[in-house]
Symmetry: C2
Subunit: 686 residues, 2 copies
């Protein structure tokens, strides 16, 4: 929390704004709104101090806080005046609140800027971390009262409106969106010469632009933050005036009908003359549909949506913009555009206000997209001293590692195994799919849960649920878990071999030609975890881990201080199992967190505060991009990472939390330390 001072005349009253803690001295008679603006405390106001919009409400405490006492006297703020009374008659002002445009400073004050109306709106997140998003949106609503036409001064309606936007709001060089030009005259007359203009001013070097107009006072402005994933499109609808998330929703990316994974969609574009157009239309239609949906959920007129921030992986990003993604499917994986893109909603047609803008976060590299940039913005490794690892696993894993000093990024070709593809009983996360697995260390009997049921398979009532849903396969997150549990139960060795000798102990170990498999479920469908399945997971995890190790080598660190798992995969897997399998490096488990759709959170931040746009643009420019394919060392790292957990890296922090099987002799010191317990030892304890 930064405490900015403003040294006025020492006789002037001292005003402290909370929660920002900004403070300064102002002459008696200064409005609270003016004081807030001078200190850079963002208090919304649409009506320009006319006490009609009610957006600038604050809670006033008073007193001589220099001595840390709040004296309950009433003479430090001006009494409620006629303008405030008029507003309070029409709409209610909660007790203790004042309109900051009308209330003036009469003595020392503590002002609470309440989060519900306007400022410093806290975005509620599923995951643990709360981010305080100070609002500074790219779109601002400005109400003005325009002079009526005058034959003596034949300035046009638009021109007279600009004069007032300059005088009242300080915009001295406004451009105006073409589609508004024919509407200005009608809107001004309908509003009886009062009009609210939406001003977009994202690019500091560019001129601010009038993008929308309404007759009279218009008090609603919304934005959407959208993460276009290859599987799921997620969207938040947010009030730009209060920062409140009004509605959130998601839908399947309809491009899936052209190909499940990214590369099959690129192939579709390459093989079909109108492939690119079809994929672009599909994703834009979906964004349009989802926008309509969140607007309906929030009771918001889509015409009041004035800004949009989009993130997505490079292929989604390119297809949304109408760019052929073919180049991204082959070396050198050239992005058509990597920098942030500023464009118009109308050009892309997503069904919001005609003048609305769209901002796409920059892409980091050919396989590390605007989604990774969004996650970086949300989790903020660049704002920390700690060495933070940020991982978003999909068909490619996008990896960012670094701190305030230096950031490196890479993508690693994990393949689709983590998503359940290439796995014999793998399937999408859907009702009936196994999502959690535990294996008894002694009996090797499994228990599991399926999506759609609250019960474990050994609990009463599970059979009924299973009857209803079926037990159809293993979803991505459970594959990690079952292989990790097999490892922890000693069914597979550090090298990933299913131990045939175990077949003598349990009928769960079944022979399949020259290899063995683990029978997870015997029913309508026989669900096995085969040797090939284990190998597929090993390959995928080795790719991810090798990518991470490569970045750790670039950063010259042997450990990371924090790990953030972004994305749907990260939300469903248990970080512990990810570490047991060696997807991620050793770390204090309390510092390993699934952060959900961090990319979407980053989009939300960029939507609510344009400073975050500059922050991520600058950050992406300084991220060092590592192309794994060009690193000769990567192959060795990959081979090293095949073992469970990795042969070359000890996981001391993990082994404090989890009973790992003993390491194969010869690959470690075998020093007999407490963490190196034998299988027998563990068995003996259980």
């Amino acid at each position: 929390m930064s405490l900015e001072g403003r040294t006025g005349n020492m006789q002037d009253p001292l005003v402290l704004f909370m929660p920002s803690g900004k403070r300064g001295r102002f002459p008696v008679g200064t409005t609270v709104l003016d004081a807030a603006r001078q200190l850079g405390v963002y208090v919304e106001s649409v009506c320009g101090g006319r006490a009609t919009c009610g957006r600038c409400q604050v809670e006033v405490q008073e007193g001589n806080f220099a001595k840390h006492q709040i004296v309950s006297s009433n003479d430090h703020i001006s009494p409620i005046g006629p303008k405030e009374l008029r507003y309070a008659e029409k709409r209610t002002i909660p007790a203790g609140r004042r309109l900051s445009c009308s209330a003036t400073i009469q003595g020392d004050l503590v002002i609470d800027v309440p989060p519900d109306t306007v400022v410093n709106a806290q975005v509620v997140r599923k995951a643990a971390i709360d981010i305080l998003i100070e609002r500074n949106p790219a779109v601002q609503l400005c109400y003005v009262e325009v002079d009526e036409p005058d034959m003596h001064k034949p300035l046009g309606d638009l021109d007279r409106m600009k004069v007032m936007l300059d005088r009242d709001w300080g915009f001295d060089n406004l451009l105006v969106s073409q589609h508004l030009i024919p509407q200005v005259q009608g809107i001004l007359r309908k509003g009886n010469w009062g009009v609210t203009a939406a001003i977009h001013r994202d690019l500091e070097a560019s001129r601010p632009n009038i993008i929308a107009l309404w007759p009279g006072l218009h008090n609603e402005a919304y934005g959407i933050a959208c993460d276009i994933g290859s599987t799921t499109i997620a969207m938040h609808l947010v009030s730009l005036l209060s920062g409140r998330v009004v509605a959130s929703s998601g839908m399947q990316n309809p491009q899936i009908r052209f190909g499940e994974d990214l590369m099959s969609r690129v192939s579709y574009v390459m093989m079909n003359a109108d492939g690119r157009e079809a994929l672009t239309k599909a994703v834009r239609d979906a964004v349009t549909e989802l926008t309509a949906k969140v607007c309906a959920m929030g009771g918001v007129d889509p015409d009041n949506v004035l800004d949009a921030v989009i993130v997505g992986n490079p292929i989604m990003h390119h297809l949304f913009l109408g760019i052929d993604p073919t180049e991204l499917g082959q070396a050198p994986f050239a992005l058509a555009v990597s920098g942030a893109v500023h464009t118009w909603a109308d050009d892309l047609g997503i069904g919001i206000n005609h003048g609305a803008r769209i901002y796409l976060l920059p892409c980091i590299a050919g396989h590390v997209g605007a989604d990774a940039a969004g996650a970086t913005l949300a989790e903020g490794p660049h704002r920390q001293d700690r060495m933070m690892l940020l991982v978003d696993v999909g068909t490619n894993a996008e990896i960012v590692l670094g701190n305030r000093e230096r950031l490196v990024a890479a993508s690693s070709p994990t393949g689709p195994a983590f998503e359940g593809a290439e796995i014999s009983s793998g399937q999408r996360a859907a009702p009936g799919a196994i999502e959690r697995v535990r294996i008894d260390r002694d009996t090797l009997e499994p228990r599991f849960r399926i999506i759609g049921s609250e019960k474990w398979s050994d609990e009463d009532g599970f059979a009924e649920d299973a009857e209803k849903l079926g037990i159809t396969g293993i979803c991505g997150s459970a594959i990690i878990e079952v292989v990790a549990e097999m490892f922890l139960a000693g069914i597979i060795s550090e090298d990933g071999v299913v131990d045939g000798a175990m077949a003598a102990r349990s009928t769960r170990i079944v022979e399949q030609g020259r290899t063995y498999a683990y029978l997870l479920h015997e029913g309508a469908q026989r669900i096995l975890v085969t040797q090939n399945d284990v190998r597929a997971i090993q390959l995928a995890k080795a790719a991810l881990y090798a990518g991470i190790r490569l970045l750790m080598e670039k950063q010259d660190v042997e450990k990371v201080d924090a790990i953030r798992f972004a994305g749907a995969f990260g939300s469903f897997i248990d970080p512990k199992y990810a570490m047991v399998l060696g997807l991620i490096p050793d770390c204090d488990l309390t510092e390993v967190k699934a952060v959900g759709n961090a990319a979407g959170t980053g989009a939300l931040m960029a939507l609510l505060n344009r400073d975050y746009r500059r922050e991520i643009e600058q950050t992406v420019r300084r991220i060092e991009k590592i192309e794994t394919a060009l690193e000769p060392h990567f192959q060795q790292l990959f081979v090293n990472a095949m073992a469970l957990p990795n042969k070359v890296d000890p996981f001391p922090l993990l082994s404090q939390a989890v009973d790992l099987p003993a390491r194969a002799q010869g690959t470690d010191g075998g020093d007999g330390s407490p963490r190196r317990r034998s299988r027998e030892g563990r068995r003996g304890r259980s």
Copy 2:
């Protein structure tokens, strides 16, 4: 011609650029192009000094011109190098010419920047005045060679192109038109990483914008300058690289089918729900059609048209932009927008390059439009010490009066009489219409010419032409002439009364009830100039003259130094007759000029040099707008102006050039000065 100096090291060679006269000292080895740029001499270059575009050709003279001698030695300029040779092999360079990007300064030089290639292109005008338009168009072509994609530095194609546009051309903060984003990657590859970008940078305060892209070196950029008149739409197609007018054409404004004059079109909009849309579509379609026509005439691909400048009266201006003009039809005649409008060709759909821009000059007032602004820019009263009167006559006369110090403007409701409406035998200018008239002072017999024939009515062969064409009516310009000739022949008095007593002298004077008329032609159609016709002309000319006098009063001047008649009306009437009738104030006849479509010339200037845009924007802001309807004195001026010539104002300069009938006794001093010759006296002389 400004002579700007650049004081370099006195040992350095001195270089003089002609015709601008700009000079400076530059170190040996400086390219001529660099020297030109440092002095602000505009030399085009598309290829960025690669000696491939050939746009930067100059003629090199050499010598010690400090002593005003040009020494014919060859060592003051570098010898022709390999790059120039390569260009000369592929395309010819005329003898004596060099590519200024390759030739370097070795000693004192005189450099001629030839008008045909590039610079200071002189626009040929029908009328007498030549305007030297120094080119500084809003659109510039920039060729760059872009680095190929590199996995180590995964900057996007667009981003790497921007790097080069910054490095080679100094554009460090480019925006890019959305429609180009999907095209960048294909264009770069097609051009083998060489690309020509069209950069639009009109608004100094705004960021320059990439509006078009071509693979490889693209050497063509055009613009259109268009004057949308209520009757005629006129257009020039110009090369933005050479300044050459490639083609000019015009067509009838198809809005005529909705109403002949402006007010009837406004009525159409008011009476029909889709009236505004229909009129907007009509004018935009016409501009599109005319653009296609001039492009076809000039052999220019419309996709190479990158900029457009439009002028028009306020109603045409509003309808073209899609603005309802109803407000302009009633007090307070409020313009929806008066300032210059920057917009996109795509939004208005006129069939040029998708990224092309459109610039509309500012409107001066509700009845004084962007056409008057264009005429002002072309004729430049604001650049002069002389008091210049600029008149554009239509249904409304747009009047600007002033000089460097101060400008005033007004419109005056002349009505449609000057255009042949409200005149008994009036008609549009079309084959068969009488366009020139002379009346014999003694016999009162007329002779005339009709449109479509080269012969006067008393010449051999006229009868055959008349047989073919018919003699159908009197066009606007001839109405002025016939009434003026009637006045000069004594048929009508100073008060405008057709003298019935003349009927005794000539059968040309015919009785019509209680008034008399002049029989101009007896044939299939009987063409009369009636008392009502004379009254209509008197009313129209009084309105015009009263408007002018009002502005003269505002300027506190009794005479004007120069008069410019702009527009079609001005092109066809003889300024002498206009003055005889008292449409315009007394002036030296050699200073009264018809300047044709000055509005279109102004548009052309603004197209070729964006500095003219700033000039007219600033000028229009300081023009004082006078609304005749609000001036209590205007009625008196109007009444005073009814007489022929005006009762209150002597016309000493006119009477030196034309035998005016004697003034009615009692309205002047009757001082017997030489200009006051009696009718008898003149008759005696003839």
